[in-house]
Amino acid sequence: MNRKTVLFVIALVAAVAWPFALDNSFFTHIGVSVWMFTLLALSMNLMLRMGQLSLAHGGLMGLGAYTAALLMLRLDAPFLLAFVSAGVVGGLVALITGPILLRVKGVYFVLLTFAFGEIIVLMFVDWVTLFGGNNGLFGVPRAQLFDFILRDRALSYVFALGLAALGYLGLRWIYRSETGAVIDALHDDEELAQSLGINALRYRVVVFAISGFMAGIAGGFYASYYTFVTPNAFTFWAAVDALVMNILGGIAVPAGAVMGAILLVPLPELLRDSQEYQVLFYGLVLIFFLKFIPNGLYGTFAYLISTPRREIGMRARKVLAWRQWK
């Protein structure tokens, strides 16, 4: 077992034990939100790693949430089926719209997915008979496995943590596999990749579909944890949140997305009382990070760990000396 695996296991155990040790319902709830959004942030990480930003992921998560809610409410579907369907719907919608949406790149893709995500939300709002309009759907049953109903908040936390951990490990596996090499190549130099034989569009669609699946799963969890779904939880702001988590934590590795979620999700809760101050704080933190820590926390952290202390000192001294010369 190498150092990183040990570190991961320790972190995992600490994360699992945390709510039981603390025994505070409010903090546990924050923990659940953290892990749920981690999953969304990880799904966004996949897209960013390819070099594309999708603002539709809020809508995909919403599709998952509404699917799970509707299956359980209207069709009395068992939780497991509804939950998996949530992911499947997210992935399927991405798979079907992918070949169309992914033909454009860069800014245009961002705008296109923005419009697409907003159309999805508009559908949730307008199709009142199916989706419940602005009020959404409520009374969604909680997660249930056979006869065991997940009512305990701490256990929901463990469930969410489990999903996030699976997502994290899954992403790391993908990045290390052949697919990861393709994703990196598509980001780095797509023309080169194509000249060697890569079908760029198809790979992009596959990545988009996996990403959509993850977002859908996050939505499925959302539905059964909160027991109600409303359209305004799944606007492009949700995608922006996921993006910000990645920026804060650093895009380069999935751990960055996790760190970003851990940092960002509890932030508004610190200022529960005033929503305006919450948003203001969020905005200022973002500005600060973008201006002064553009590589994200993990990026800076990794740099500090990998480059020995001595060398950083030497480099700093070189820079200072050069500046004096000028």
Partner: protein, 257 residues
């Protein structure tokens, strides 16, 4: 003897300007064909048309008897026509070894559906190491295999680009200015590499070049393009004595290499 690559009446118009104007040629088997011409004559555009990177206004291209006109670049690559680029295009963050492996992988597993084919993936993983080692040895980069590609010299990166193309299993190589940016020694080595590719691997080569010394020394035939049109096609001797070619070259600035 008819060769593998046949171009017939290729035309590419950008608005009113014809960058490529009715170009036809076909390669002979086992041949290194050089394409020369003044700057802006349409040589790079020609490659882009053949590989499907940009759409053709008119004309047909055939490879090994198969019509590849308008095929997507990745399909053309899968059929065995691989191109290299004028600038040093490599994946800079990855090691030399990884770059070559990627060349092999992209050829074997180019479509996502391949990834689900367990046998293909297993075959790839078993063979990749050997293919990479062999290619690195062939181009002479074995000593650098664990260095990041971005750390190599410009010349080294260009050789790596060739190595990646080789790993992708080409039957026909299209090389866009392989000697651009190389000093005299590196140019000679590149020339030797290209000949070795033809001799030892049996891969046909078409190359666009400005370096006349290299072209005349390694090419079996030369295609001269001027203003998007074919000016002449023949052996280096014939071309050097061709009055139209001489006029075209004397009428413009000599290459500032």
């Amino acid at each position: 003897m008819s060769g593998m690559l046949e171009a017939e009446g290729l035309v590419k118009r950008f608005g009113g300007l014809a960058a490529v104007d009715d170009v036809s040629f076909s390669t002979a088997e086992g041949e290194i064909l050089g394409v020369i011409g003044p700057n802006g004559a349409g040589k790079s555009t020609l490659f882009n048309l053949i590989t499907g990177t940009i759409p053709m206004t008119a004309g047909k291209v055939r490879f090994a008897g198969r019509d590849i006109t308008g095929m997507k670049p990745e399909k053309v690559a899968n059929l065995g026509v691989i191109r290299t680029f004028q600038s040093a295009t490599v994946f800079r963050e990855k090691t030399v070894c990884e770059n070559v492996r990627i060349g092999y992988q992209f050829n074997q597993l180019g479509c996502p559906s391949n990834l689900f084919n367990r046998r293909r993936v297993r075959d790839f993983r078993e063979k990749a190491g050997g293919v990479v080692a062999e290619v690195l040895d062939f181009v002479g980069l074995t000593a650098f295999k664990d260095r990041a590609a971005g750390e190599l010299s410009y010349g080294g990166q260009k050789v790596l680009g060739v190595a990646m193309a080789l790993a992708a299993g080409p039957k026909q190589l299209l090389m866009d200015e392989p000697a651009a940016g190389l000093n005299a020694v590196e140019t000679r080595q590149m020339g030797e590499l290209i000949m070795a590719i033809r001799d030892k691997k049996g891969i046909d080569v078409v190359l666009v070049e400005h370096d006349m010394a290299m072209v005349t020394s390694i090419c079996d035939r030369i295609l001269v393009i001027n203003r998007g049109q074919v000016l002449a096609l023949g052996t280096p001797d014939e071309i050097q004595r061709n009055p139209d070619v001489i006029e075209a070259y004397l009428g413009v600035d000599l290459e500032l290499d």
